[in-house]
């Protein structure tokens, strides 16, 4: 058991970096570390580990572990705003939401620059179903704290959940301004625009996402991960554009050479599913039949094995 301590710490650090929310695993590993008093040997990382363990413990309703971690953190950092947030989340777990909201209001009265508390308030409002109030408060929060990318993406998700996709694209455009190199937000923008029935804008943004992801891809490279999703998006847009005439609410111009784009996106998606060594990736037959017979013909498509 003692030999696995460094590997457990390594896994937990990995979860922190990648924002993974594997709460049960974190609590299982973290409880061992907590009991072994290994926290003191970590140095500065110990507090981040305790915070991670607190949140994971509340997630799986293991309140003893959560209280123990909170006690250690409060002892080390008395009066810290970050520890206040954790106490608030702990309060949300057992008290009714109104009590938690009142607690957050009191904290905001004493210190109105604590951005995390505003976010907790909004999270509680979303949880109890007061979406309109949550949207209003989130917009006010983003007026003050403009550079919070996470806030803009959350606002877009809130709008999308209410089917207001154009407002969602407006929120996402702010996120794109703040994090221009991030292909994931561009992809989200493209998919939201497609849902809002602005196909020319959607296809333009799908191609922008592909430009960022696959900038250095050669002709022989196989698309992996998020780029397959973006190529699917291009294919869907080409299909929509060829089946009906699409107007663009944002007055975006159509790309030239749509049939070529159609062919390219088909080829890219099918390459991803037909890569050698992956013999018959799951869903390959479905994808081939979805692409339709007319797209698979033609001597130029050389990849299909």
């Amino acid at each position: 058991m003692l030999a696995s301590l460094p590997s457990a710490l390594q896994t937990l650090a990995n979860y922190r970096i990648h924002n993974t929310r594997a709460s049960k695993e974190v609590v299982d590993k973290g409880k061992v570390l907590l009991d072994a008093q290994a926290a003191s040997s970590l140095g500065d990382d110990a507090w981040a580990f305790l915070e991670q363990l607190t949140l994971a413990a509340i997630d799986v309703a293991n309140y003893e572990v959560a209280d123990e971690c909170l006690r250690q953190l409060a002892a080390q950092f008395p009066g810290s705003p970050r520890v206040d947030v954790l106490s608030g989340i702990r309060m949300e777990a057992t008290q009714p939401p109104e009590i938690a909201l009142k607690f957050y209001d009191e904290l905001l009265e004493t210190d109105s620059s604590n951005a995390a508390i505003y976010k907790r308030r909004i999270s509680v409002l979303i949880r109890i179903g007061k979406i309109e109030q949550a949207v209003t408060e989130l917009s006010d929060y983003l007026d003050t704290f403009y550079t919070d990318v996470e806030g803009w993406v959350e606002l877009a998700e809130l709008y999308s959940s209410c089917n207001q996709y154009t407002s969602a694209t407006r929120a996402l455009s702010h996120a794109l301004l703040l994090a221009p190199q991030n292909p994931f937000y561009v992809l989200q923008f493209a998919e939201t625009a497609y849902t809002a029935d602005d196909i020319p804008l959607a296809i333009k943004m799908f191609m922008l996402a592909l430009d960022i992801i696959d900038r250095h891809a050669s002709e022989e490279s196989i698309p992996t991960g998020v780029s397959i999703r973006a190529w699917y998006g291009v294919k869907l847009c080409c299909r929509a554009l060829s089946e009906r005439s699409c107007s663009s609410a944002s007055d975006t111009l159509l790309p030239k050479n749509l049939p070529l784009l159609d062919e390219l996106s088909t080829e890219r998606v099918l390459t991803a599913y037909s890569a050698a060594g992956k013999d018959n990736a799951t869903g390959r037959e479905l994808v081939l039949s979805w692409m339709g017979p007319s797209d698979r013909s033609g001597g130029r498509l050389h990849f299909v094995r």
Binding site: N19, T20, D59, V60, N62, I126, D148, V226
Partner: protein
Amino acid sequence: MLERLFLLLATLFILHAAFSTYDHLSHLKSIGKPEGALPYDIILEAVIGLAMGILGASLNAAPLKEVTWSSEMKTRSIDEMDARLGFANYINRGRKFLS
């Protein structure tokens, strides 16, 4: 393995050339001709040491890491970009079966 050998040989050549130079210069001083030229084989030894040292250091370097933004983005996933931890909800139905 070969790299370490090259580096070691290069170090030895340079040290030997340095010692030979010191030895030769003190010999010239002792015979009263302190301006004499350095023999060409010491210079050759030093240059060969330099070349082997460059070769050994280049081969011994760590494997190259990716620098492009797109290669960095390939290591991320949609889930971690969508995490939005500031707004995360920790009160869920799980507590009915997990506690």
